[in-house]
């Protein structure tokens, strides 16, 4: 009897020890414990490659069976993964949008989780190049899981997500930069390379400025397509509002549209938008105007004049900046000069934006405004430098008086002491 009791005691303790983690695990793990899909697959270490426990579906309780079907309550793999229980295995590429759409296109269902979530993704997807190709039977194109991943889905606001702004270029690049994969599509595969070199790319990827555009900001999310001729200006104009407005109101808008030239792209490129330089306007070597305009036509003349005004202003601005540095180096007061230069800099930015009006008059109006400010700044700087020299001259004068006094005193003392000696 004693031996039997000991045996029961021993096995109970052993059982509890083995299952102690059942008692102290956290809630999601507890829930997962009931889900035998995850528990078996993790025990056997055959979880999908991209499995992450921060996956949004997993976090809200929609586990494997939610998409793959089957019976998560059964420990028996045959029963759990039987087609009778709805198991569909790994869905085919072609079937994925519809599979995701089962929930994500159903607003009645989705609003119980997120009242404001859009439900037009699948619809948009089939208008995109990816969607259209998929319908044609192309299994190489991107579908939902290609960008969002299958088992590590997270909100686009979550920094871990494959569709978080800073991660988007990497996600697209997986296919679009793979020359072998993209063989047969006859589109370039250097977009990422060019983008990474561009102003936008550097801001996004190196400075982590989420204000800079990623691929989807211009191409769209689910309805991804390269922006057409009319839409280019609008796409860029989403951020570069004034540039767009000036351009659309300018004399170049119509001819560009008629010639089927993509507005902004023609001069600035798209993926490889570089930092603009003043040389782009004008008739010099690096000018974009001379791509179409040549000596003698009105455009050439306008370009020349615009470049002239801007160069003069920039020159004055640089001069003022040099004076400022001199003032600072001499330790004189630079506050007011700095403020003026800030204002002048703002005017310079506005001038460069006004280039898109292609009107030399508007440019020179703005540059005159700017030159007034830089002149004021230079006058202030000159005054400070003059003061610097006045101080030194003042010192010279004071020294002169002191020296005169000192020399006179010297003689006075000498004379006086000579007299005293004589008298004694």
């Amino acid at each position: 009897m004693k031996k039997f009791n000991t045996a029961i005691l021993f096995s109970t303790v052993l059982f509890l020890l083995i299952n102690i983690n059942f008692v102290i695990a956290d809630i999601p793990a507890l829930l997962l414990q009931e889900d035998h899909c995850v528990s078996c697959h993790s025990e056997l270490e055959i979880l999908p490659e991209d499995f992450q426990d921060y996956d949004s579906h997993l976090q809200i309780g929609l586990s494997c069976s939610g998409c793959h079907g089957g019976d998560p309550t059964s420990e028996d793999p045959e029963k759990a993964m039987s087609p009778k229980a709805g198991f569909i295995g790994v869905p085919s590429t072609k079937a994925i949008p519809k599979l995701c759409g089962k929930c994500h296109s159903n607003i009645d269902f989705m609003r119980t989780y997120q009242p404001r979530i859009p439900t037009d993704q699948v619809q948009q997807y089939f208008t995109s190049v990816h969607g259209k190709q998929l319908l044609k039977g192309d299994e190489k194109v991107a579908e939902c899981a290609s960008c969002h991943t299958a088992h590590a889905i997270a909100s686009a606001k979550d920094a871990r997500s494959s569709v978080y702004a800073l991660n988007v270029p990497n996600t697209c690049k997986k296919c679009h930069s793979d020359a072998d994969y993209m063989k047969g599509y006859h589109i370039p595969t250097d977009q990422y390379e060019k983008f990474a070199r561009s102003v936008h790319g550097k801001d996004l990827l190196e400075k982590s400025d989420t204000g800079a555009p990623a691929c989807n900001d211009c191409h769209g999310n689910h309805g991804a397509a390269p922006p057409g001729v009319e839409s280019v200006a609008h796409v860029c104009g989403n951020c570069h509002v004034n540039n767009m407005n000036y351009f659309e109101a300018s004399s170049m808008a119509e001819p560009f549209a008629n010639l089927d030239i993509h507005a902004c792209e023609q001069c600035h490129g798209h993926h490889d938008v570089e930092k603009t330089t003043d040389d782009m306007v004008g008739v010099g070597e690096n000018s974009v105007c001379t791509q179409c305009h040549s000596t003698g036509d009105a455009g050439y003349q306008a370009a020349k004049e615009m470049h002239q005004s801007i160069s003069e202003f920039v020159n004055d601005y640089n001069q003022a900046e040099a004076q400022l540095k001199d003032v600072q180096q001499k330790g004189m007061d630079d506050v007011d000069i700095l403020y003026l230069l800030q204002e002048a800099h703002q005017t310079l930015i506005h001038t460069r934006t006004l280039v898109h009006t292609f009107s030399p008059d508007k440019i020179s109006e703005k540059t005159s405004e700017g030159v007034k400010k830089t002149s004021e700044a230079m006058d202030l700087a000159k005054k400070e430098i003059r003061d610097y020299h006045v101080r030194r001259r003042g010192f010279g004068i004071a020294t002169l008086f002191i020296t005169v006094l000192v020399v006179a005193l010297f003689f006075k003392i000498r004379g006086m002491e000579r007299n005293q000696k004589k008298q004694s």
Binding site: T210, C239, I349, F401
Partner: protein, 147 residues
């Protein structure tokens, strides 16, 4: 000989007197000049005057210099005065008040801030710092409450 000496002594005394006078002047002049109050009579520390209320129309904004920083002073269409730093939190352009959308706008990349200074649209990552505005005897005074 004696005459020479006395004249020399007189000359020396004259030089000393003159030199002394000059020296005293070169000491007294800066001191007096120092005591005359400069145009702006005191260190601009925490507040500036920004003009009279009567001169400021409703639903308008203007940039005012606060030390070395630009500040955007706004009068809303209800007559209330607001003031924010005018340096955009994205890439440091100077923002402006838009009378049409009644919000603060940055022309560089279309960033928009509401009248609480909060960044509500576009690239700006942070709100604009707010300044307190007091009206004293019809004069607008902008105060920096930040330490």
């Amino acid at each position: 000989m004696e005459e020479q000496k006395t004249s020399r002594r007189k000359f020396l005394n004259f030089i000393i007197g003159g030199g002394l006078l000059g020296w005293v002047a070169s000491v007294v002049y800066p001191i007096f000049s120092y005591l005359i109050p400069p145009k702006v009579p005191e260190a601009v520390v925490n507040s500036i005057k920004a003009g009279s209320v009567a001169d400021f129309p409703s639903n308008s904004g203007k940039i005012v210099k606060f030390g070395r920083k630009p500040v955007l002073l706004i009068r809303t269409d209800t007559g209330e005065f607001l003031a924010f730093t005018a340096t955009c939190t994205h890439l440091d352009c100077i923002v402006q008040y838009r009378q049409d959308i009644k919000q603060i706008w940055c022309a560089c990349h279309n960033g928009i801030y509401d009248l609480n200074g909060r960044n509500v649209s576009g690239p700006p990552p942070k709100p604009l710092d707010e300044y307190k505005v007091n009206i004293v005897n019809d004069e607008i005074v902008i105060i920096n409450e930040l330490g």
